[in-house]
Amino acid sequence: MILDSKIPEGPIAEKWDKHKFDVKLVNPANKRKYEIIVVGTGLAGASAAATLGELGYNVKAFCFQDSPRRAHSIAAQGGINAAKNYQNDGDSVFRLFYDTVKGGDYRSREANVYRLAQVSVNIIDQCVAQGVPFARDYGGLLANRSFGGAQVSRTFYARGQTGQQLLLGAYSALNRQIAYGKVKMFPRTEMLDLVVVDGKARGIVVRNLITGQIESHSAHAVVLATGGYGNVFFLSTNAMGSNVTAAWRAHKKGALFANPCFTQIHPTCIPVSGEYQSKLTLMSESLRNDGRVWVPKTVEIAQRLRKGEITVNDIAEEDRDYYLERKYPAFGNLVPRDVASRNAKLVCDEGRGVGSSGLAVYLDFADAIKREGQPAIAAKYGNLFEMYAKITDENPYARPMRIYPAVHYTMGGLWVDYNLMTTVPGLYAAGECNFSDHGANRLGASALMQGLADGYFVLPYTIGDYLAKMPSDKVPTNHPAFLEAEQAVAAKNNKLLSINGTRTVDEFHKELGLIMWDYCGMARNAEGLTHAKQEIRKLRDEFWRNVKVTGVGEELNQTLERANRVADFFELGELMVDDALNRNESCGGHFREESQTPENEALRDDENYAYVAAWEFTGVGNEAILHKEDLEFENVKLTQRSYK
């Protein structure tokens, strides 16, 4: 298989305009003859479904939550980037493009990223027109902030709830199309298979989560906007329901999965407090603007602290190691996410971690409070301090916060071409679900931008091009391909329900998560990854022999829902390990211990690994086949990132 990225010819700044002119259009009267399925109603899915409905297509939208408004985009805090240059501080489309390619450590496709930067400005206009209440200055114009170490202020925000406001905007556009009858909404419905007829994606098989009924839906094209797969680690900042099932089952039907090992681990999360912990809570990284990160200088002090013999405030200034300030004098506490996370792990591995588990570092605001006063700090971070206090029962004004990195975002995903089409014709992937724009590391405030860019401004053009070239004939849902898929889904559910073993789904999920975290987390090496692969296979075998799924398939059964998702995480987990093993270089969120500088910094290998690793499924337990898309950089010069 040769991967054709279908990047249009011409200078980078003209590619998208040229492509928009070159794509075929569907006659307005013919649009109503085509049906499009959109799975997932986060920023990418809701915006795509609404816009396709506005254009006149018949859309069916699906989400597993009880309402499209619950999708996990809603939890994004920080903001959304756009190259508006409203602040007159030197921003431009090219600068946002450049920053995104560099921030992704040169593992993304230039043409896609440039288009993302171009349409970023339209997103803000669209959201304001929908009534999204962005932050404003006293003159009534939109406010911006600098975010994630960017040198310009290009981040638009709605207090700490930007994702919520953007999603409610897309949800309102979606509701309007539902009211018009152009979008039919299926909440509490989970996609369990993709149906391919004559090599083209022609529909999906779903389970109605209330009745348990297995149902088929036919269409002319299918869009997956089903988010990321961070929950393979069990503990992550994702929502409890976030899963890889739709994307993974499409992968098993022929869609290549790209760069699965590229995982973003966010440095400022609240540490794990107990075995029962179900998820991790992220606090905005803006905290690092004023908080100083440190651990005790020696293992002895850290041990006494963990035993409760001394408290944090007993530790003298000279016994504290502000390790980020020490190692990175230029950037200090503001080093990028991957660097901050890895260093926290390093000091904890040395035995200098704090908290009873030893898996935490301090984020200290004492100096900032001394300098600016408590009210000033409360004005900046009040809601975050409150959240921290609520969860930990500690007062962060009086003693430092404890933080630890947590899985937050997955840059990998289904491989897509410039049109966001996967390797299955007629199957598209949008938002976090695809691999396309963030390379090996995503910059802050870029996830929301990508989701809405794909849904509002890219897919509506590129899907039209595909549909214009195909007849509007429908495939009936009694076609053998649908019946076969339905039977396979039902058989899998029945199998899960019939094992009647002794261990719960969550036990398996937690154990898988630990393997992933220990060997395919913040630092990876060949030995550990090889070991992890064996462990995953062993555990997966046990899962299929010994899992306990109670209840029946013909009614609401949350255990069965989770069992299906965990079954797919097992298969994905192995592929992540394969991918991490194959990529013997360090880049962005992927740190291979074998590939580092003498100062323990990530060392890229552009000569051998400047490619997208796209994997083909060949059966559970079989080795996946690697396909490479070489990355060419014509507009950005490859450099080694340095924050010293």
């Binding site: 915006s47 609404a50 816009t51 506005e54 309402s67 408004r69 619950r70 996990h72 809603i74 939890a75 803000i124 669209q126 304001v128 027109a129 929908q130 009534g131 209440p133 962005f134 932050a135 404003r136 009534g140 114009l141 939109l142 709605a158 207090r159 919520q164 309102s172 556009a173 509701n175 539902i178 009211a179 909404m185 909440p187 209330i210 929502a239 409890m240 540490p271 407090s273 107990g274 029962y276 912990q277 179900s278 998820k279 409760g308 009873s356 609520k390 969860i391 930990t392 029962d393 500690e394 401004f457 719960t504 789904v505 969550d506 036990e507 306990k548 109670t550 009614e555 609401l556 949350q558």
Partner: protein, 261 residues
Amino acid sequence: MAGSNPNAKPMDLTLKVWRQKNRETAGQLVTYPMKGISPDMSFLEMLDVLNDDLSVRGEEPIAFDHDCREGICGMCSLFINGRAHGPERGTTTCQLHMRHFNDGDTITIEPWRAAAFPVHKDLVVDRSAFDRIQQAGGYISVNTGGVPDANEIPIPKIIADKAFDAATCIGCGACVAACKNASAILFVSAKVSQMSMLPQGKTERKTRVENMVAQMDIEGFGSCTNTGACAAECPVGISLENINMMRREFISAKATSENLA
């Protein structure tokens, strides 16, 4: 291994949980003793522990809605000891921690109770009525593309901030559950006021409020009798002012109705 409070002692509790097979079947409270609950657990993690125990014993776990566990998606619910989202003000159930309970407590857990929110199973209710109210008019009619530049219409900061306050509603339904009449007026008014305040939303303000209120009535929510329980129990602090504003909008719209439908 409680991280925060080494003195916090595990608690023993008695749970009384509403179990109901499906919409058609009658439900009942079932008692479950719980031992050794860490005060640092969240309320939902406590239910996770119970569900794991039930699974191991071969009993069916308790169905409850939840997703983000950060207090923003609005999916979690639960009527805990007679309070929507439990005893803590300004807190969703997923952000409620067991340290707010005492060793030996009996905790009653029920689903939202409202005719417009029928029970699917156990603690899971059907809140699709909220979606249908939004579909009746909770939007500004603009298609993608062709909109003016975002800075073309300045909006005074104070207005933008007030619109934001109204827009933070998470759609959980606690207002309905807390109201003795099961009124949805706080939910509806939050969207109406957000959009009426913003210049972009003014074009359709009359039809919007009329259609949303009409749909609210069709769905079978009760009437508002100004007790204010909704705002008191709202986990994100949606203000009663929104109700006043919606009433003004509604009266003004009815007086000069443009809604020909």
